[in-house]
Amino acid sequence: MSIETAKAKNLLGQNPEGSSLWGDAWIRLRANRLATASLFFFIFVSIVTILGPEMISTSYEEQDLNNAFAPPSLTHFFGTDNLGRDLLARVLHGGRISLAVGFLATAVSLFIGVSYGMASGYLGGKIDALMMRVVDILYSLPFTIFVILLMVLFGRNFILLFIAIGAVEWLTMARITRGQTLSLKQAEFIEAARALGFPDSRILIRHILPNLLGPVIVYATLTVPAVMLLEAVLSFLGLGVQAPMSSWGSLIKEGSEKMDIAPWLILFPGLFFSFTLLALNFLGDGLRDALDPKSAKD
């Protein structure tokens, strides 16, 4: 189409260095205001939760029973809970845990899913069929239930928590990666690479991996909020982190119990949690549009 050629010409004229697909995607992402705002919001939340607890004077476990259920004020911006603990400190500390679980579990699922999916897709044939059969079987396990079972039976263990969640989430990642690998394997540039006699390892790492990163990143961005949600569910059932530690999920649970007398206890963690999930989802959507020019909104 003439639009494409015009665009190509434009780029050629303005940009002697050349711009990679990643660079183009970044420009498209920046043009999406919602996604950019989400990105900034997310960075803001990350910084606040990582550095925040060190910056404010009150600790998340410091009790002040005389000052229980204090509404938000200048001394306690977010108010205090039933034991007089500062809610701001607890929300920030909880965010740290929630985000850590979100990212670590996603990293686990990313690692397992991508290597498994790439191997399955590239090897193909009977091995592929077998590997995918395994995934199919695992898919029909009621996994949320397994995670709950695991947490109930073996106690609340932080490490176990994100391993369990990561192990659930890798299945979809593996399927996406395999699908991408299969279609990339058919691509002519892979055939060209084989015709040029490149070894398989090189084709996998240098030609297939970078090209399937797009959908994988998008899915990973969407996995983080899903994982945070699952952690919150577990916390809500009393299976997450243990008091006095907090996560957003456990704070929401505490808040929902005291909703009538101290609504701020559910309001602030709820807001932080929902907005972070919102930002991550918008960011994921934005990335999807940015990385796939065809689906982009003109």
């Binding site: 189409m1 691509a187 060209a192 006699g197 003109d298």
Partner: protein, 581 residues
């Protein structure tokens, strides 16, 4: 009164990078019962003109800025949406390029063909279906009653296009807009579809606006031709006026650069030899004729007659294929008990001499592409031998094949798909050198890459660029350079100019020829286009259904085809020369 009259039509696309003047002040008209051909290369605005008429453009980004389109006296541009919709499918119908994606996969053929009647006429379902079946018979669908209840995927490409035509004409419209209706079809099928359109035109007193990039096709079917270039009409006239006496430099170039069966050139002229187009700041183009064009043409002719390419020196065999077979088994699907065996190649013998070009022609699905892949061992043959320089390849392990990977290369049809979009041109070209230990260090390799780029008509400016920043022709040059990076002696060209405009195609063909002479390359040139194959090949083999049915010296085979299928293929090539003569 004219049936359709377009005056000063301008349709622009407003995109983030600026405004594209897709159609820029176009005026022409169609009389009742006339076929007008609109010819142009990709991006010339011919399809946009067509879509503008029916209000089928995506708006935004497209916007009709100016002009009028009068159909039977009514201005289509300013017609209320509902009234325009009533004209669509009743008075003006349209058929499109890809008959597969244009039919709804979830509805039966009968449902789709009878639908326009049900929409526009007060008619019972039975009557509409009866009319639909009648129309399907007219366009040559045998067993129409029975087949009407099948779904589109059960029809071949040619049959689907017949269904599209039946669907478009079932309401007896006055005007048919045909947007590249035969481009996706094989040449024999194309000839049949063109025949159907011509005979129906007389039967139904139909007017047709036929949009195509193919000068041959338009010469066969049109009464009058409109040539578009960069959104403007550059020339308009009858078929013989355009072909015998072109006035505009672009049209002259376009006619000269297509390799026809009686092509006299060894090097093809290109459109750029005829004109120079300068972009103005407002996005429009100024076209200047080159005065040197005629001299250049003559010099090409002289050079060609003196150049006895196939010199007499004895040639040795580089590649010999014996009884090669490749069979595939399809996967079992949900409702299917067993996979089928498809015989993609079913026992072929071929021989290619060093320094020569073997052209392999055939229609889609005949196994020509699989042959190329099987020679390179990208697909392992089921049976038979591939002997390259005296060595049997099909039994070698992939490690033992590596030295041969350096000697044999391949260029694909779609240059964009065959370049890794995440690598710069420099990375894409140095990588094979590094793998095969060509060049001593990175600097040395970069110098080699630069000289390669210059050899294929690019330059060191392009080193840091990514594939999506090039035009189609440039990308194919990059692919050629990458194939040359390992200094091969044999290259499989798999439909490598098929997706290109004729003017770009001429440039790439010239490049391939030039490189062959300079580097003593041997080509296997796979294509569905008989004219292109004739231009480039010394020997030609014709393939059908996995078998080679005829082969021989290029000139002999074309002038005196023995097999009936070969004769049909050659006769089906649409050519203005035949029409005018």
């Amino acid at each position: 009164m004219k049936l359709l009259e377009i005056k000063n039509l301008s349709t622009h696309f407003h995109v983030r990078t600026g405004t594209v003047r897709a159609v820029d002040g176009v005026s022409f008209s169609i009389e009742q019962g006339e076929i007008v051909g609109v010819v142009g290369e990709s991006g010339s605005g011919k399809s946009v003109t067509c879509h503008s008429m029916l209000g089928l453009l995506p708006q935004p980004p497209a916007k009709i800025e100016n002009g009028s389109i009068h159909f039977k006296g009514e201005d289509l541009i300013h017609l209320p949406k509902d009234e325009l919709r009533r004209l669509r499918g009743q008075s003006i119908s349209m058929i499109f390029q890809d008959p597969m994606s244009c039919l709804n996969p979830y509805l039966t053929i009968l449902d789709q063909v009878s639908e326009p009647l049900l929409i526009h006429e007060d008619i019972s379902k039975e009557k509409a279906e009866g009319k639909a079946i009648e129309m399907m018979k007219k366009v040559g669908i045998r067993d129409a009653e029975k087949r009407a209840h099948s779904y589109p995927h059960e029809f071949s490409g040619g049959m689907r296009q017949r269904v599209m035509i039946a669907m478009a004409l079932v309401t007896s419209p006055n005007l048919l807009l045909a947007d590249e209706p035969t481009t996706a079809l094989d040449v024999t099928v194309q000839a049949k579809i063109l025949g159907i359109l011509k005979s129906l035109k007389d039967d139904l007193n139909l007017s047709v606006l036929f949009v195509t990039h193919d000068l041959g096709v338009v010469a066969e079917i049109a009464d009058r031709i409109v040539v578009m270039y960069r959104g403007k009409i550059v020339e308009e006239g009858t078929v013989s006026e355009i072909f015998n006496n072109p006035k505009h430099p672009y049209v002259k170039g376009l006619l000269a650069c297509r390799p026809s069966l009686d092509c006299k050139y060894q090097t093809l002229p290109t459109v750029d030899d005829f004109l120079e187009s300068i972009e103005k700041p407002d996005g429009s183009f100024e076209i200047k004729e080159r005065t040197t064009a005629n001299e250049y043409l003559e010099s090409l002719l002289e050079q060609s007659s003196s150049d006895l390419k196939s010199s007499i020196e004895p040639k040795q065999t580089l590649l010999r294929i014996n009884d090669l077979k490749v069979h595939f088994t399809t996967k079992r699907s949900l409702f299917q008990k067993q996979g089928e065996t498809i015989k993609a190649i079913d026992g072929i013998d071929l021989k290619i001499l060093r320094g020569q070009t073997l052209g392999l022609v055939g229609e889609s699905g005949c196994g020509k592409t699989t042959t190329g892949r099987a020679i390179l061992q990208l697909i392992r043959p089921t049976k038979g031998t591939v002997e390259y320089g005296g060595q049997e390849l099909s039994k070698l392990s992939s490690t033992d094949l590596i030295p041969f990977r350096k000697r044999m290369q391949i260029i694909f049809q779609d240059p964009y798909a065959s370049l890794n979009p995440r690598l710069t041109i420099e990375q894409a070209l140095t990588e094979p050198m590094r793998v095969h230990q060509i060049g001593t260090n990175d600097n040395n390799r970069r110098d080699m890459v630069v000289s390669l780029l210059e050899e294929v008509g690019l330059s060191s400016v392009h080193l840091r660029r990514y594939p999506h920043e090039f035009s189609g022709g440039q990308r194919q040059r990059v692919c050629v350079a990458r194939a040359l990076a390992v200094e091969p002696e044999f290259i499989v060209c798999d439909e490598c100019v098929s997706a290109m405009d004729v003017s770009v195609q001429a440039q790439v063909l010239n490049l391939l020829r030039e490189l062959q002479e300079k580097r003593q390359l041997t080509y296997l040139f796979i294509s569905h286009d008989l004219s292109v194959v004739k231009f480039i090949s010394d020997e030609v083999a014709v393939m059908k259904a996995g078998k080679i049915i005829e082969s021989g010296k290029s000139d002999a085979l074309y002038s005196n085809p023995k097999d009936k299928y070969t004769q049909e293929l050659i006769e089906s090539i649409p050519s203005p020369e035949k029409v005018i003569a």
